[in-house]
């Protein structure tokens, strides 16, 4: 009899524990786009921008910003790779041995980049030719490894996914701003359309701004200007957001 009672009390205890676990789980479960999750998305756009604040991922970014189209394709490719690599590493985070985690991460990212590369070759061959080796260089894009190390290894799957998208968006926005200025000032075009008018051999035949004697700035097409534009972007951002200023 006594045994029976203890058994039922044990059962009750177990049920209680289950109930508490269930309750705490539901209490911890956040809304799909709660404030914290939205912060994961919006923070990298300004306060914690991967390029201008974290100084990650500049490597392959700037060489392909001569025109808007490859820049946008690059931003999308990085978004896809980052979101999914963050997600996969977050799923596997308790299985990856600490000592070889960098190689494991590199292999995961490399496989995703191969997928992206093959998709680009199949559906956007011209852009993929323009991007040449820089698609492959997404593998060693520091921003991806940086986020895997700093976030995905310690956070849940959905959060890591959001973090990946947020950071890729922060990276993409800088890419697109730089490409916008370089294409507009360098060749007077946006997406290949002549937005500033048509430039002909003589001033009289030209239309739009060119008929007033406006000239394209050829320097903008050269790689050094990408660095200088990013420098100016950092200046503007930090002048508006004083807490980002470095002390030394």
């Amino acid at each position: 009899m006594a045994k029976e009672i203890s058994a039922t009390s044990e059962e009750k205890e177990a049920k209680k524990k289950e109930m508490i676990l269930f309750l705490s789980n539901t209490a911890e479960r956040e809304h799909f786009l709660s404030k914290n999750n939205r912060k994961l998305l919006s923070d990298p756009l300004n306060d914690n921008n991967p390029i201008t604040v974290q100084v990650l991922g500049i490597c392959s970014a700037l060489a392909i910003t001569v025109q808007l189209e490859p820049a946008i394709v690059m931003a999308l490719a990085v978004t896809a790779v980052m979101a999914f690599s963050n997600m996969i590493v977050s799923i596997l985070r308790n299985l990856i041995p600490n000592r070889i985690r960098i190689i494991v991460q590199l292999i995961i990212v490399a496989s995703l980049v191969i997928l992206v590369d093959q998709v680009l070759k199949a559906y956007a061959y011209d852009v993929s030719k323009q991007l040449s080796v820089f698609v492959g260089l997404i593998i060693t894009n520091c921003i991806i490894m940086g986020r895997l190390e700093a976030f995905a290894l310690g956070n849940g799957v959905y959060k890591s996914f959001l973090d990946g998208i947020g950071n890729a968006a922060g990276y993409g926005i800088i890419l697109i701003i730089v490409a916008f200025f370089r294409e507009l000032l360098g060749s007077g075009k946006l997406f290949g359309f002549e937005v500033l008018g048509h430039k002909a051999a003589t001033m009289a035949e030209s239309t739009g701004l060119y008929s007033f004697g406006y000239e394209n700035n050829g320097l903008m097409l050269l790689s050094p200007m990408a660095l200088i534009i990013v420098g100016i972007l950092i200046w503007v951002q930090r002048a508006r957001n004083r807490k980002l200023i470095e002390q030394n």
């Binding site: 100084v55 500049i58 960098i102 191969i114 590369d117 200088i228 950092i234």
Partner: protein, 204 residues
């Protein structure tokens, strides 16, 4: 002469940092003092000099379309080039690990100097970039690949050395507050890149 030309080209004209922006992350992060910059630069030369030739052989005998012909003429139609990213990065990561162990065993002094930088290098874009550009240039011989690897390493070394020296001095100048640190480094790098463009068109 051809090799000297390739070497000079890869140092000055196709400089990894000033022409392609490869390895910018570590270039910006580790260039605060000359001493650490030299350490990282030496490690980059070392690793580029090793991985580019290895990846060249891999590309030549395994990956490029028809590369497997040496095994059996029937394999001539096989094209494994889509695997090159994953193969290259695996080679780089394992070589870095191997080099780290060998250097630690046989040259402890060098290990002390390079030590902390070696693991960083596996994810340096300049290293993978070297291999990918090597694949794009389709060299004929492994000696060309070695020359190219060493040349681009030296170019990277020069760039990080120069910016570190400038940053040590600029710490004492009166830079506008929002431009301090990162911003001014970007602009200086841009100006240096414009300077390096004057080497364009040089042939020896």
């Amino acid at each position: 002469m051809e090799y000297v030309n390739l070497f000079v080209r890869s140092i000055f004209i196709e400089n990894m940092i000033f022409a392609y922006f490869l390895g910018m992350c570590s270039y910006l992060a580790v260039s605060k003092t000359v001493k650490t910059a030299v350490g990282l630069g030496a490690a980059v030369i070392f690793v580029l000099g090793i991985t580019v030739p290895i990846n060249f052989l891999l590309d030549q005998y395994l990956l490029r379309p028809g590369a497997l012909e040496w095994l059996n003429p029937e394999y001539a139609y096989i094209d494994l080039s889509f695997l090159s990213f994953i193969m290259f990065i695996a080679v780089i990561a394992s070589m870095v690990q191997l080099v780290e162990m060998i250097v630690e065993k046989f040259a402890p002094a060098l290990y002390g100097a390079l030590g902390i930088f070696l693991p960083l290098i596996a994810v340096n874009c300049a290293i993978l970039g070297g291999s990918l550009f090597m694949q794009q240039k389709s060299f004929d011989a492994v000696s060309e690949a070695i020359t190219y690897g060493l040349g681009s390493g030296v170019g990277w070394f020069l760039a990080i050395l120069a910016i570190a020296a400038i940053r040590e001095k600029i710490a004492y100048s009166n830079v506008p507050a929002p431009l301090k640190g990162l911003g001014i480094t970007f602009i200086i790098t841009g100006l240096m890149a414009i300077g390096f463009m004057s080497f364009m068109g040089i042939e020896i």
